[in-house]
Symmetry: D3
Subunit: 281 residues, 6 copies
């Protein structure tokens, strides 16, 4: 993990949680108290964010020892130890919540992604994320998607041309839109067109789109389009995908299914920091 991409965000999180220190721990716990603690999974999931958790403690107190027991991307079950920590009790208490806030969310995204990835196993279909990410955390959430086995769609409005229904309503013509997008963007920038029916898909293909997105189409219509395209361009399917529908859509032979819920409606995975008491330093 390229931890340097997330330095600013970790700093922000620590400042947010400790604008003026941890007044409870600092007033109660002796400065020389030392503890051992474990990051423990309380349910099943896929790990993401262990290096962010480690960096949280490094920033608070470089003398805390943090030993990873599992790498990001690996599955765990309830009771599995994710990391072992030892160091100043106050430092461990200070970092606990911030580290968990990162790791539980990121593992939530990785776990949700894995469910979709598992659902399409055995097909050629890949699970994509979207731009429906938490403001300010896109890079982090897209990393978590990768840890779950998903593939990242475009990172921003600046790095790929995706012509959506709204663009088409304003322009009126798919071929004109593709032509302008091709002319107005850098070489190597792909042009994808979102369509909602056969006519749109045909126009997109004939205009030379690099990729076609079928949005909210019924399964039978989708099949018709996918068969007609016949592998001449990658096909992406989007629109309120569930694990069940993903399986059926994948069976049609589409290349990608994009799932906004990976990042907009996941559930945090239950992980806790369990203290083992004062060690005998």
């Amino acid at each position: 993990m390229d931890i340097e991409l997330f330095e600013g965000l970790i700093d922000l999180a620590l400042k947010e949680d400790m604008p003026a220190g941890d007044i409870t721990s600092e007033s109660i716990i002796p400065a020389d108290s030392v503890s051992r603690a474990l990051f423990l999974a309380k349910e099943e999931g896929v790990l993401a964010g262990i290096d962010v958790a480690r960096r949280v403690f490094e920033k608070i107190d470089p003398s805390v020892s943090f030993i990873k027991m599992l790498e990001d991307g690996r599955s765990f079950g309830p009771g599995d130890i994710l990391a072992r920590l030892e160091g100043s009790s106050i430092s461990l208490l200070k970092g606990e919540r911030t580290a968990l806030n990162f790791m539980q969310r990121m593992s939530g995204i990785a776990t949700k992604t894995r469910t979709f990835v598992d659902a399409v196993e055995g097909t050629k279909t890949k699970i994509l994320d979207t731009r429906k990410t938490t403001p300010g955390l896109r890079l982090l959430e897209k990393y978590a998607v990768r840890m779950g086995g998903g593939v990242n769609h475009r990172f921003s409005l600046s790095d790929m041309a995706l012509i959506k229904d709204t663009h088409l309503e304003i322009i009126g013509s798919v071929s004109e839109a593709v032509k302008r997008a091709r002319a107005g963007t850098a070489p190597g920038v792909s042009v994808e067109v979102e369509v909602t029916g056969f006519a749109g898909a045909r126009e997109a293909m004939e205009s030379g789109a690099d990729m076609v997105m079928l949005d909210n189409m019924p399964l039978d219509k989708m099949k018709e389009v996918v068969d007609w395209i016949g592998g001449r361009a990658p096909v992406e399917v989007s629109g309120k995908i569930t694990v069940e529908s993903a399986r059926k859509i994948a069976a049609l032979g589409v290349d990608f299914i994009s799932v906004g819920a990976l990042t907009h409606s996941f559930r945090s995975i239950d992980i806790s920091l369990e203290f083992e008491g004062r060690s005998g330093r």
Copy 2:
């Protein structure tokens, strides 16, 4: 809403989504194209973030007109119009996703909070949030909790003493912990003690704690403790609360129920930006 608290975050989100502009819209849509659009609810919920959405467009293009049709904190149903926008088509397209990413998440939190608030209606119990918030977005998420009718618990480790089980394991004595917390923090700083049984609650009360948190206790034990405290200090209940359990716990006469899931496991509310086509400016 104190929008100035969120300027930095909105800037970050816009930079993240448009490091180098919106290459699709800029290459396809004429610079003088003007559109009207509506923020439309696609399901039931409680609104939060409408002013953040407005600020997103203001930052992109001050000439976009944004008329709020609903204020934060109000309920809406599918088909309800949340705001009316008019302005440069490119500007509307640029702000769409970022505005939605804020508003859908914030409304998700407000809506989830409202469900809990409704569940305890008619009792004196208030629904609290926790520090289990998205890193960097705590203020925003706590605002959304308030819009849902919830009450904010402490904002950070710096503004209230909350003595948890881990502190007690290290210190050994509730009364010593309360004494040290009292001595080591500013006047006016409340001291709350987390307990898991009757003995702990008694010791907390006798040590002069300002507030007692009952963590993960069975309902009958909880009742025993609440009755014994008898209003001498506010009582907070925490630990994997559901809408159903919230109702039963509220019936015991507790003051607060804190629900981590308000901010760690909510679902984005479905809202969309519907374009009405080019207007005749």
Copy 3:
């Protein structure tokens, strides 16, 4: 000391004093010249800021050795050595003024605080600071107050409800103000009311205020109120306190005396960096 809270401020100070290096030392002193130097007290005082001074040099040149001879919070007299430094002469010269600007001010605050703390010794009264701090340096100055033996009052407008005369003039009623403050703030947030006479104090107590502040009252009136409250709530006294008046007010049995002058009108303590000449590295 949580030095990470002050990293940004130290960076700012160094950039301010050296936007483009130290043109005198860099042009005059050989790059390989090494010096020893002492931070020496030139008058009596209480130390605060020694770790900030150390961090200043660490940032300029990690190879400078900085050995603390005294910890923050300890008293010193003229001639006392506060720290011993050794390293590149240029590095020592670069950090001298910035380190002193921090340490002299912080020790000035700690020393002024100690004078007040000593004045109330033997009573239960504690000396509080206020929000009358230098813009941008509040955390640092409140740390210095603690080093002088004082206790920190609220850190900001966000972390405690303090109902002042202006609020009351607008609202009209103490009890209404307390009620609203209680309802509108998080659980555990204390509500303090500033009063200027017996009637106000009584209304505050009857409204359930957590703390009462007696502002600018004559000593005999103050006594009357303190006796009537009789320990039912902590009492704070404020308003142009001097060392002499502090002693008399403390004798009345008040809990806190808040002194704006601790941070708004202190005097820097005279400390200097004395070079011992080039060492024989």
Copy 4:
């Protein structure tokens, strides 16, 4: 006043005082309450910082009206109105302390400076500040010195060569130091030498120093040196200057007296924000 130089500092101060709003005013005062208020001097002084105060309110709420009654650099007496404000009561309450924290300190510096400037009136001597300023606030404090009638010495280690005793101890020779400083700095950069006796002053003059600083010399020695230099270079006197000694030193015909206490040991001037009650908007 170039207010844009201070935007960052004002933002920092507001964030520090309101990380999450003003919980007292927001919970107590109706959002539509409007007040009039006056910045009122409570003692004599010289004004500095009125534009910073205005900017504080502009940032909180652009709809607050702020009418200056006095400009920076003008004297005032107790009871003088410095500015008239009208606007949202909550906005006025939010900005009060931060505006005062700036204006009271800055006026404290301007007032202290004026005392020294008055003491040397009728002579050619000018009062200089030093680099002994509050970390992060140097530009602001140097502005306040100018408002008091003082003149700014160098702003940082980067903009003038000032050869001090420590430099000379390491180098050994004044003439060598001046030569190196001249060669190693940009054209137009002045070279000043700090001396403590006649010999040093002579060597500095003979080496072609642009300015000579007499540090901590007795008055008679000082006179001897000043007479000998005879106007061939500007002479600055420094070292624990008081108002009384400034008068005597000025009488010797020196060009500049630098006074560290202007910025390191001033006293805040008593100014308050007086509310006139709700206005009938």
Copy 5:
């Protein structure tokens, strides 16, 4: 021009040039002096940066009037007026150098780009920039390239896969490299391969590369490859391109020629700000 993308850079430039104001103008010019001035071209060129220049003055003083006489992307000759300004003389003097530093460089890049674009006129070849841009100014310089008629290549290492000779030396196989790049990047990310001979080009085409870059090949070899590819994929040529060689390479029918010198070795265009004297406001 999306001026909001450059706010931070303009702020940085102004701070760099005026850390503490313009001491010459502020001390010499009366505060109420008003001037008219013209941005005047002193030689031929293509304009870029006029909106940046305008923003520079807006930030210094919003009351300065700035009327553009020419838009970015348009050609000008010596004596042409680019903009007319009127406002505070001090404000005009403060912004002069910073505005010119931006506009002269950006116009330098646009002008150099135009020379190459003109050289390939009548062919299908487009002129591309590279990542050889000034650190921190990439977006600005790529904008200038567009104003000169050029097309932007990838913006960063994050938005396109470009397999260079070094990658191939480490991996050993073009087809393996393309396969991994395809698998490891988001859908829609193009994969370009840099080759130096026929064999490489063939392997790239057979591996399904989206684009082929011919690096530093002799013209006859280049022709052979271009003919063989025959339009099946876009071809880019790179490597020490001059205006003369560009013409010849374009004649071969390549799609793109990338020219590092556009941004790494341009010459500033001579533009000046001519004052017309005090106007009679």
Copy 6:
């Protein structure tokens, strides 16, 4: 080199070039692949920026070994090795372009400066830079000028009074301008006057200017003025200086020649990073 002055700029450059990593190298190159590489000069020049290059790699990956073979300020020829690197292949690839973008530009400036310095060798004339630097990179470019043997002119509008023709047109009188500049700036601030003929130079000298700048004067006029001044004040010559004209002007005995082109129209020096293949770690 004071690398801490450039930390922010290096961070900016890295973020700009890798907002989301290096997608090519990360997908293609095995994470444990290790390479050796050389920074190799491809043409003659003067080195500047080697420490910036080193810091680029340190920030990406502290485990990369970077051994400098040449120091800034030294000349090199084609084939000379500037530094030897060894470490993770991916890390080397990530830093390559950013390190080169810094080092090639900085060496370009140093090399151009050296050409002018060589041209005036044997005279007392020094080569000065100007404020015509790349926005945001002034400190870095002025450092490069020093490495080429040049001398830095003022850094900003805040650190020296330079009265230009525009100032004089507004004020009307040289002596009045000098008087005001002297009075309105700090002691030790030099006052330089730009003149275009003998009359101006005489007025400047009689007004007590510290330095005179002859702008765009013919050589014979220049000689007349220089002879008349006769060393009473340093003389600077400016205005479209070439290597040839510099030689002739220097022969007149002027103190300084300032050359805007050093920083506004240099050419990047060709340096490359040559990989030696995977090493056997």
